[in-house]
């Protein structure tokens, strides 16, 4: 199984549309791709869109928390969108508001 991410930029908002299955294996590549875009575009806001995600374990929580720390370091913020019931259950366990 694979995962992928596509990016959209609108002003200072960077949206990362995630898709596929997010686990420890696929999260590493997703993390690299998102971080590369953050470094290049320096957005004020990063939206992680989970609409296309069919499966996510706690590696996805690590992905969100890691990006959140990076964005906070430059005064930015992260929000989460397109959360399915399964992803939402994981986020509630981690006290992340979807």
């Amino acid at each position: 199984m694979t995962a992928d991410v596509e990016f959209m930029v609108a002003g200072e908002v960077l949206t990362a549309a995630l898709s596929g299955e997010i686990d420890h294996h696929t999260a590493a590549t997703l993390r690299e791709k998102v971080d590369e875009q953050i470094d290049r575009r320096m957005p004020k806001r990063l939206i992680l869109d989970f609409s296309g995600v069919g499966f996510m374990d706690s590696s996805g929580v690590g992905l969100i928390l890691g990006r959140s720390k990076r964005m906070q370091a430059t005064g930015g913020e992260v929000s989460v969108r397109g959360v399915s019931e399964q992803v939402g259950k994981m986020l509630r366990l981690a006290n992340i508001k979807g």
């Binding site: 690590g62 890691g66 399964q86 994981m90 366990l93």
Partner: protein, 142 residues
């Protein structure tokens, strides 16, 4: 449904996380689980296998053994075992947000997810001998 059991052994490579949860999903399919039940099971397997890869065999590739058994009353029993470094303090390892991995990228939620998504979780471990996680889920009849 009749009782049934499978045993799979595979290398602790991260590409096998998807294989392991896919194999268990296929084994469970005849029990006709709901989408939520199947998702819970796949997630718990993914967490347990990831623990083996990240923590049990941090600097090497080892063997992971997975068994899936269905008993009477739609009782699913999963075991995930390794012969890795073991866990010194199981109670501490099972605390939510505790991780010995990179705190930037590991949420430390593995055991919390297993406990929350499955009906029973037991962990046995001996340092330098390995760890065995046993998880039970009752598939509700529809």
């Amino acid at each position: 449904m009749n009782t049934n059991k499978v045993k799979i052994t595979f290398f602790s490579r991260s590409a096998n996380e998807a294989f392991a949860r896919g194999a268990v999903a296929a084994f469970v399919a005849p029990l006709d689980p709901t989408v939520a039940e199947l998702s819970d099971i796949k997630t718990a397997v993914s967490e347990a296998v990831t623990n083996c890869i990240v923590h049990a065999y941090p600097d090497t590739v080892g063997q992971i053994e997975l068994t899936a058994e269905v008993q009477e009353n739609q009782k699913l029993i999963l075991t995930i075992s390794d012969k890795g470094v073991g866990i010194e303090n199981i109670e501490r390892a099972m605390q939510p947000m505790f991780t010995t991995g990179s705190p930037e990228e590991r949420a430390g939620l593995g055991f919390a997810v297993m406990k929350s998504f499955m009906d029973e979780v037991k962990v046995r471990s001996k340092p330098q001998k390995g760890t065995k996680v046993t998880m039970v889920k009752y598939i509700r009849s529809r």
